[in-house]
């Protein structure tokens, strides 16, 4: 029968993440981290490593544990805490790309570094014109004897300003949006010709534009020695990231729903708590239902993200992302509206949940993009 209950390990992971967020991740200290140079706290990252979280979703052979469901368990708790440390960018995305595409030696070195917390990776796959298509790669990789020379520009590289190395997609062959002909390279952030321009994002995170100018990389920088299947690897990683932010959005929505209901119980207007006004009650019920439905769908379909069948994974991810984004938009907008003015302020945490939800809606395919893919696969 379908196993939707958390396993013992998943329960432990969830408890430890929830405890961490509740006890050690206060809104004020997050605010300081966001304002700091890295946009997150190195000591928190080390703590993640010691808790074993930096291997969640990575292969056991290289120090990791669990799959999409474990990643989801962790992401939901991190969402509730508005955690800004780069678990998504480094582990779910860049390290996973290495795990999927790398040769054993590459995995040994890179995943070991990620799991221990000593190495920060970012996946540089998107480009200024790629929108939601991971196969849209204009960055060029030209063979130069045994080595390669990379030229191009990567956009919105999540946490790219603090990455030690990038996993870069570059086109070795084919036209701009061809699925074949894309290679993945590991590139040092300090290599000649690599320039990362970091900036904050609206949700309290960080990203970078990365330009590559005649960047020379050795043959062993090519992941798995395969110069053509990179777009499929990135597509899978982006799907996994989409699933992960769906789980994160459950935590965000839950936090907003709790805040809204609590506020409605205490905020008085016209002589009674606003939660007594029926029109507002019905809207809070809609918010509740939106979250519960998203929970149900992700509980059932999250396991499909680990499927060996691309079509099964894609269908599940598109269903989840369309549902969670739709729910997240409604919950986020209603949470602000039902709070009123207070939720418009930077000082009140609701606005930050709202902005993180808004950012998620623009990452890894928006509702239209996923509905289109879903229609192609399911109808």
């Amino acid at each position: 029968m379908l196993d939707l209950e958390l396993s013992e390990e998943q329960r432990l992971l969830k408890d430890s993440a929830d405890r961490f967020v509740a006890r050690d991740y206060a809104f004020e200290s997050r605010r300081e981290a966001v304002a700091g140079e890295d946009g997150f706290r190195r000591e928190v990252w080390r703590r993640f490593a010691s808790l074993g979280w930096l291997g969640v979703g990575l292969p056991e052979d290289f120090g990791g544990s669990g799959g999409a469901r474990e990643t989801a368990v962790l992401m939901e708790s991190l969402g509730r805490g508005l955690v800004v440390e780069p678990y998504l960018a480094c582990v779910v995305m860049a390290a996973k790309a290495v795990a999927l595409a790398g040769a054993d030696a590459q995995k040994e070195e890179l995943l070991g570094g990620v799991v221990s917390g000593d190495l920060l990776l970012s996946l540089a796959y998107a480009e200024p014109r790629s929108r939601y298509d991971p196969a849209h790669v204009e960055t060029r990789a030209e063979a130069a004897g045994d080595a390669w020379v990379l030229n191009g520009r990567k956009g919105l590289v999540l946490n790219g300003d603090t990455a030690d190395r990038f996993v870069v997609s570059a086109r070795a062959a084919g036209g701009v949006a061809d699925e074949d002909g894309v290679a993945l390279f590991v590139v040092d952030a300090g290599a000649d010709g690599v320039h990362a321009r970091g900036y904050p994002t609206n949700d309290g995170g960080r990203a970078a534009e990365v330009s590559l100018e005649n960047v020379a990389v050795a043959a062993d920088a090519l992941l798995g020695g395969d110069s053509t299947g990179g777009a499929r690897v990135v597509a899978e990683v982006v799907d996994r990231a989409a699933a992960a932010v769906c789980a994160e959005s459950l935590g965000l929505m839950a936090a907003l729903n709790d805040l809204t209901v609590d506020y409605a119980k205490t905020r008085e207007q016209f002589g009674q708590p606003i939660g007594k006004f029926q029109a507002l009650q019905h809207r809070m019920v809609d918010m509740f239902v939106a979250l519960e439905e998203s929970r149900s769908l992700t509980a059932v379909y999250m396991a499909d993200v680990d499927s060996a069948e691309a079509a099964e994974r894609q269908l599940a991810v598109s269903a989840m992302k369309a549902q969670c984004d739709k729910a997240g938009r409604a919950v986020g907008q209603e949470a602000i509206q039902l709070h009123g003015g207070i939720a418009m302020t930077d000082d009140y945490i609701a606005s930050h949940y709202f902005k993180r939800l808004s950012a998620i809606h623009r990452l890894f395919g928006d509702i239209d993009w996923h509905l289109e893919r879903y229609a192609r696969l399911a109808l």
Partner: protein, 393 residues
């Protein structure tokens, strides 16, 4: 999504399929799959076939004829019968009055009423709503006055679905006007052949006759037909309303509607229209989402847990999806939703349809389905309940 059923469960599924293939009238199934109505005989025939197999009321306690199925078996049974377009169960006897009888009835009532419900020999109707009560059930006015060993019932019930087919009706009547409105209500079982019962058909907007006003004029009901205590009927009524058997009937029906919608969209040249595809995809995800909620309930039930709050919004979402599917069908069919053919596809109907052959039931179904967000506790009432009991507002 993959559900890992055990080999035993898969064997059970095969048994259900074979049984449907062998015993369920293909003509009735075709009608269900094409969105056409069924006759009383269709429901009864399938119920009796199931009863012969011991499957007519599998969710009942075993002692009364139910099956000792796992939640997974119930799920499989409902999925297969729903998917195959078997006539859906008629709830008034098996799902509504029966749990009240076995929980609160005396031995004589159990012996008298449960077997014919199980076998399909007796058809029940529900006598809850009154013309001026609506969602405010407790404001009911039908009176029962004790006269020796009978109650004399006077008043009227409305929206009594298929009362024209019913042998018995269960009803709530006021036996006292003391205290709160919820007190002073008594739960009675009434033989529809009793003198003084009159039916007035209510034609609903699509032209069908599903519901009635049922008028009681000096109807004598033996005290022996009272459930439990006098004036405690509200307790039993609430139990009945809260008796949520594990029910996923809405999902297979929605999937059937989606399959039909896709056929219609193909025929109307809409399959390639990105906007309509978008709406179909969105609806399909909504159906999978509702199904996922049902699976969560199933998983919780399997783990022996109370489903809790998740159960409360199923009525809201199930009915919204039902209405959405009928709207999409209207949109897909387009102009040929206009012809009015209330008897299209009925037994003995042999006119040539106007427009494509799938068109006739689409508008009547759209019209009739407006009821689903109103009946069974309107969706507004459901939201009030969630606001109060789940959100604590």
């Amino acid at each position: 999504m993959r559900i890992a059923f055990t080999p035993e469960e898969e064997a059970f599924r095969a048994e259900v399929r074979d049984f449907i293939e062998a015993e369920c009238d293909p003509a009735a199934r075709r009608r269900v799959n094409e969105g056409l109505g069924l006759a009383k005989e269709d429901y009864v025939a399938w119920h009796k076939a199931l009863a012969a197999k011991g499957w007519s009321c599998p969710h009942w306690p075993v002692e009364h004829g139910g099956r000792d199925w796992t939640p997974a078996q119930h799920y499989i049974f409902e999925e297969e019968t729903g998917d195959a377009g078997c006539p859906p169960p008629v709830p008034f006897g098996p799902e509504m009055v029966a749990p009240v009888v076995w929980t609160f009835g005396d031995d004589e009532q159990k012996a008298r009423h449960l077997p014919p419900i199980l076998s399909g020999d007796v058809w029940w109707a529900q006598g809850y709503s009154e013309p001026n009560a609506g969602s405010d059930l407790a404001s009911l006015k039908t009176k029962a006055v004790l006269d020796g060993d009978h109650y004399v019932v006077n008043g009227g019930k409305t929206w009594t679905t298929w009362a024209q087919f019913a042998d018995w009706i269960f009803l709530l009547a006021r036996t006292s006007s003391e205290g709160k409105r919820q007190e002073g209500i008594t739960f009675l079982l009434v033989d529809m052949t009793a003198p003084g019962i009159a039916l007035h058909p209510i034609v609903t907007m699509e032209g069908g006759h599903e519901v009635n006003q049922t008028i009681f004029e000096d109807v004598r009901v033996p005290v022996a037909n009272r459930i439990g205590e006098e004036n405690k009927g509200w307790t039993y009524a609430k139990f009945l309303l809260g008796y949520e058997r594990f029910n996923m009937a809405g999902v297979p029906a929605a999937k059937r509607q989606m399959r039909r919608l896709r056929r219609i969209a193909d025929d109307q040249g809409l399959a390639g229209d990105p906007r309509f595809r978008h709406r179909m995809a969105d609806a399909d995800i909504q159906i999978r989402t509702l199904e996922s909620t049902m699976l969560r309930l199933l998983a919780a039930a399997t783990a022996g847990k109370d489903p809790g709050a998740e159960a409360s919004y199923i009525k809201i979402r199930g009915t919204e999806i039902d209405q959405l599917m009928t709207e999409l069908a209207m949109e897909a069919v387009g102009p040929y939703t206009l012809p009015f053919a209330p008897n299209a596809g009925a037994e003995g109907w042999n006119e040539e349809p106007v427009g494509p052959d799938y068109a006739a039931p689409v508008a009547p179904t759209y019209f009739n389905t407006r009821k689903v967000t109103i009946y069974g506790g309107s969706n507004e009432i459901q939201k009030n309940i969630i606001a109060k009991h789940v959100l604590g507002l």
